[in-house]
Assembly symmetry: C2
Homo-oligomer: 342 residues x 2
Amino acid sequence: MIKIAVDCFGGDHSPLAQVDGSLAALEQFPDLSVILAGDEALIREALADKTYDESRLEILHAPEVVTCNEKPTDAIRLKKESSMMKSIRLLREDDTVAGIVSTGSTGALVAAATLRLGRLRNVIRPAFCPILPTMNGGIVGVCDSGANVDITPDYLQQYAVMGSLYLENVYGVKNPRVALLNIGTEAEKGDDLRKKAYELLSQTPGINFVGNMESRDLLSGKFDLVVCDGFSGNVLLKSTEGALLEMLGKLKRDIKSKLINKIGALFLYKMFADEKKFMDYQNYGGSVLLGTAKVVVKGHGSSKATAVTKCIEQAYRMELNSLTGKTEEALDAIFGAQETEE
Amino acid sequence: MIKIAVDCFGGDHSPLAQVDGSLAALEQFPDLSVILAGDEALIREALADKTYDESRLEILHAPEVVTCNEKPTDAIRLKKESSMMKSIRLLREDDTVAGIVSTGSTGALVAAATLRLGRLRNVIRPAFCPILPTMNGGIVGVCDSGANVDITPDYLQQYAVMGSLYLENVYGVKNPRVALLNIGTEAEKGDDLRKKAYELLSQTPGINFVGNMESRDLLSGKFDLVVCDGFSGNVLLKSTEGALLEMLGKLKRDIKSKLINKIGALFLYKMFADEKKFMDYQNYGGSVLLGTAKVVVKGHGSSKATAVTKCIEQAYRMELNSLTGKTEEALDAIFGAQETEE
């Protein structure tokens, strides 16, 4: 049995999206069990009239909620009775609970996971790895440090190792093609960080480093994993997403502006619906945190039930395929198995 | 009369695109004259059978060509007889020549312009400012340092001043809304560079700083000018362009995949043609270099005649509206009018 804690509060559609998403995940995976964390009365209300396997669902009562406006350190210190912090505490204390899915404050979740669950041996800093659809029907992961972090080449090396294992074990990508985000494809391109990272990645055993990637090729399907610093990762993801959404919006307005366009769009109704679905980030789950001692999946604050189910599936598959254990082994092979100092 | 040197070689469609583009610009602006730089025989061949005002066209014979594979410093040192270097030398020696349009090697052009023409007083480093179309029919400029440059907050401050004057004087944008590219909109977001730049921009007289911009809002039409470092500027522009092109490619494939889609697309033929034209960067001219003592416009290597005409128009309008003089004045007002040391 794989047991996942679901933080039912702190999202835009809490707790209904979390509860419904959890029930769908229970249907999908017979050896999954979930712990719904949050205000028990509200969770019971959301569960009312629904049928599910009661033996695989528990409730962890937590009356407080961490909001996005709180400082992460304040959330940890002052919101001990929140659904997020009680879930993390449970993960820390109970070996049978594999991981957490949360759609709450990113900063608080990262801080609590890093400080309370701890990092895997050798991990300098846990990294996020959101997944995007590529234009040829595949996926690409972007592994970065999250915002506000000054990184050195060895961070990027670790992201390459951790992200590769994630793609292999959760998405079945064989020998993932790893690229370094850079301003050009040639080996000598970029600043000092990029040049040194290129060299280090070229020498890292166990990964399939294929060189630099320019940001315009993110959705091309030529790469499975891109590693980068948090600032440019943020720019990369948000400008890609923004351009696609702005374009769809423009197409919509242009279609509405002329009768002949409206007629054409009737024929293309199904196609446009498919494009929209294809670009809906709800369908690609959450951004996992790699390098923490237990499984952590951060869903988007706007996640609906489908997205929550996807997040739970990610956490489930990470645990099913022993991702944390394999990650620690792979890092040991590179950096040695001595315990690092905190 | 405004005289512009056009480097006719080093582009993908040289010299025909440059020659035809120049002739179209001469038609458009009666007080423009052009100097076509490059192999005279080849330029004469491209000019054969064409009608134009011969009194406003000169040829500067230059037998060599700077290629993109050459190191910029080598190009300056070894390619003295190239169309690019001879144009720059002419600009340096002849006060009546206002600027240069080149579709050749970016690195060589920046190096030659900076070293041979010199920077305006107070300019730490010249900046590029490409222009993109926004989804509501306007434009947005992105002013950055170009790749490989470590910047400090005062660079970004200068970009804001120079870019604002460029948008006002060349595109008629009144009181341009200037934004700082960042990972979030709140003032305290980002790393040390962004926080300090935010503060500095807030205190800079003569600009209309409206705060941080997330990359997803680049095409929204809410901003006229975005300032950023060269690395994230590269990621911003290329991921925006890449996402749009990948999306158009996918739409095309999806339309071809089904008969009903093909029928719908017949009705939408004009609309799709318009979208394609709208996104064709050929229609938005080149990336100007701001902060050099004379006007410098860098067209894309793949520029065709239309794009070259646009580049010449940019150079023409920069000179017509005395952009370099106004830029120097604005920087003097902030930093003082003493000559800076080289």
